[in-house]
Amino acid sequence: MNAFRRFPWLFILPSLVGFLAFNAGPILLSLWISFTHWDVFQPLSLENLVGNWAGLDNYRRMLEDPVLKKAFFNTLYYVVVAVPLEIVIALAVALGLNRNFPGVRIVRTLYLLPTVTSVVAVGLLWRWVLNPYVGPVNLFLRWLGSKVEALFQLLHLPVPATVHWLATQGPGWLQDPAWAMPGIIVASVWAGLGFRMLIFLAGLQNIDPTYYEAAELDGANNWQKFVHVTLPLLSPTVFLNTLLALIGGFQVFGLIYVMTGGGPLDATNVLLFYLYQKAFGEFPPDMGYASAIAWLLFVILFGLTVIQWQLRKRWVLEEA
C-alpha cells in the first residue's frame, strides 16, 4: 500500500516532540555541559552555556581523580565476576528446565520471582539476608563450617583456619570492604538469574529437535550433545544475553545505592554511583564533571558493543 505518499505530520508529531525535547536535545546539552563548569543555580541560558566554557578541564580531571579510578576498577570487578556467573548459572538452569517433569512450570516460576521484584526491593531484602550475624546466608555458612570442623576433629586432623573462621564468624558481607562487592554480586546474580534464564529458554526452544535425534543416532552422549549441538545453535542467544548483561552491569546503580551507598571506604563505589554522587549527592553539585563521567561510561559501553560485534563473527554460528 503505497498510497500515502506524504509526510504524516499527525502520526510523527508526538514522537518528534519527544525526540527533540527529551532525547536529542538533552544528549547535546549533556555533551555541552561536560565541557563547562556548569553552574546549576544559574538559569539555563546562553550566558551560562557559553560563559562557563571549560574546554577539556573535566576530562583532564578524570585522569587524576583517584576515586574515579577506584570506581572504574570497582565497576570492572563487578562486571567481570557477576556477568559470567549469571550467564553460566542461568544457562545451567535453563538447560535443566528445558525438559518435562511434573511441576517444571512451578520451578520455572520460582526462578522468575526476583525478576518482578524491583532492584530497590532486592537490595533492601539482601541487605538483611546478608547480615553477618543473623542473616540466613551466614547462619547456613556457620552451620556448614561447624559440620566440616567436626569432621576434621573426628578424623583427628588439624582444623584449617578458614574452616574455623567459617564455623565461628563467616564473611562480613557489605560491612567489610573486602566482602562488600561480593555481597552486591550475590544479590545481583540472584536477582538477574531468572531473566537471563528466560532468554536462554526461548533460545533453547528454537532448536530443532531433529538435531538431537541425529546426534543420538550417531551415539552422542549428553555432554557431546551439549557441546556439539546445543552450544553452537544457542550461540546467538548466548551472545545477546552476554552483551545485555555486560551493558547492564556497567550501569549497576540501584543495588549499590540501597545496599552499601558506595561504601565502605568506596569499596563498592561504581561509575554510575559516582556520577550520581557528583551531580546530586553533594553540595555544590558538579554537573560538568558528572556529565564527563556519563560520556566516559558511554564510550566504554559503545566500545564494548563494537568489540562484541566483531567477536560475534568469530564465535557465533550464523543463523542460516
Partner: protein
C-alpha cells in the same frame, strides 16, 4: 522419544529444586522478620519463624510511611508512561511502515541510533531542563520523557509491516482516510503487539529508580521504588519495620505476576531485545 529416568535426571531435578528453593528463602526471611518482635532479632538461637506473630509491625509501618500514596504514584507513572509510549510509538511505527516520504529511512535510522545512548547520559540534562520548566517533583517530569521511545517505534513498525495490507486497502477504496484506517483497522489488529509492549513498558516504569530518584523530592511524589530506598536509609536498623514495609511493597506485584504470568513472560522475552 520416551526414555527411562536415570540417576542423572534425579540429580538435575534435585539441584533445580534446591536452586528454586534458594529463590524463596529471602522472601521467607522477609516475611518471618516482618512478624517478629522488634528487638528480638539478635536473640540466640535465631528463630526461623516467630512463635507469636506481631502483626502490629504492619500497622506501625503504615503510620510512618505513606505506602498507599507510593503505590498510587507508581501506578500513575507506570500507566502514564505505558499509555504515552504505546500511543506515540504505535502512531510513529505506523507512519514508518505505511507512509513514504523523503528522508523517511534516515529518520528511522536516527531514532534507532538513540537506542545506543544509555539512559544515564540523559539524567543530568533532563534534570536541568525539567528544573527550568518547573516540573521537578511533578508527574510531568516522570511521565513525559516516555513520549519518544525508539524501541516502541521499532517494534510497532515491524508489526505493522508484517500485517497484511488488504483490509486497509479495501478501506482506502471505500474512501477512508489514513487516520481513520489507522484507528479503525490497523490499531485493533495490532492488539497483541500492544499488549506485549505495554506489559514490558509498564514493568520498566514500575521498576524505574534513578530518574524518579533525581526528579522527585517530596515524600508525596515518590514512587514505590524511591520511597522504599529512602525508607531504607531513614530506618536502616529497624529491620522488623523495614521487612514489613518490604513485604507490602513486593507481595502484591508478585501476586499480580502469578496471575498474569503468560503476558509477563512474553513481555520480558520481547523486552530483552532492548535490555
Amino acid at each position: 522419544m520416551k526414555r527411562k529416568t536415570t540417576f542423572w535426571d534425579v540429580f538435575v531435578i534435585g539441584l533445580l529444586l534446591l536452586g528454586g528453593l534458594s529463590m524463596l528463602v529471602p522472601f521467607f526471611w522477609m516475611i518471618s522478620t516482618s512478624l517478629k518482635e522488634p528487638g528480638s532479632l539478635f536473640d540466640l538461637p535465631i528463630q526461623l519463624w516467630p512463635k507469636k506473630l506481631h502483626w502490629e509491625n504492619y500497622r506501625q509501618v503504615l503510620t510512618i510511611v505513606p505506602f498507599g500514596r507510593w503505590y498510587l504514584n507508581s501506578l500513575i507513572i507506570a500507566t502514564g508512561l505505558t499509555l504515552l509510549n504505546l500511543t506515540s510509538g504505535a502512531m510513529a511505527g505506523y507512519a514508518f511502515a505505511r507512509f513514504r516520504w523523503r528522508g523517511r529511512d534516515a529518520m528511522f535510522l536516527l531514532s534507532l541510533i538513540t537506542l545506543m545512548i544509555p539512559a544515564h547520559v540523559l539524567i543530568i540534562p533532563l534534570f536541568v531542563i525539567m528544573s527550568r520548566l518547573g516540573w521537578i517533583d511533578t508527574y510531568y517530569a516522570l511521565i513525559l520523557p516516555g513520549l519518544f521511545d525508539a524501541f516502541a517505534i521499532f517494534l510497532m513498525r515491524q508489526h505493522f509491516i508484517q500485517m497484511p495490507k488488504e483490509l486497509e486497502e479495501a478501506a482506502l477504496i471505500d474512501g477512508a482516510g489514513p487516520w481513520q484506517i489507522y484507528w479503525k483497522i490497523a490499531l485493533p489488529l495490532a492488539a497483541p503487539a500492544l499488549a506485549t509492549l505495554g506489559t514490558f513498558t509498564f514493568l520498566a516504569g514500575w521498576n524505574s529508580f534513578l530518574w524518579p530518584l533525581v526528579a522527585t523530592n517530596s515524600i508525596e511524589m515518590r514512587p514505590l521504588t524511591v520511597g522504599l530506598a529512602v525508607f531504607n536509609t531513614n530506618f536502616s536498623t529497624e529491620w522488623t519495620l523495614l521487612m514489613a514495609g518490604l513485604s507490602l511493597a513486593t507481595i502484591p506485584p508478585i501476586l499480580v505476576f502469578l496471575l498474569a504470568q503468560r503476558w509477563f513472560i512474553r513481555g520480558l522475552t520481547l523486552g530483552s531485545l532492548k535490555g
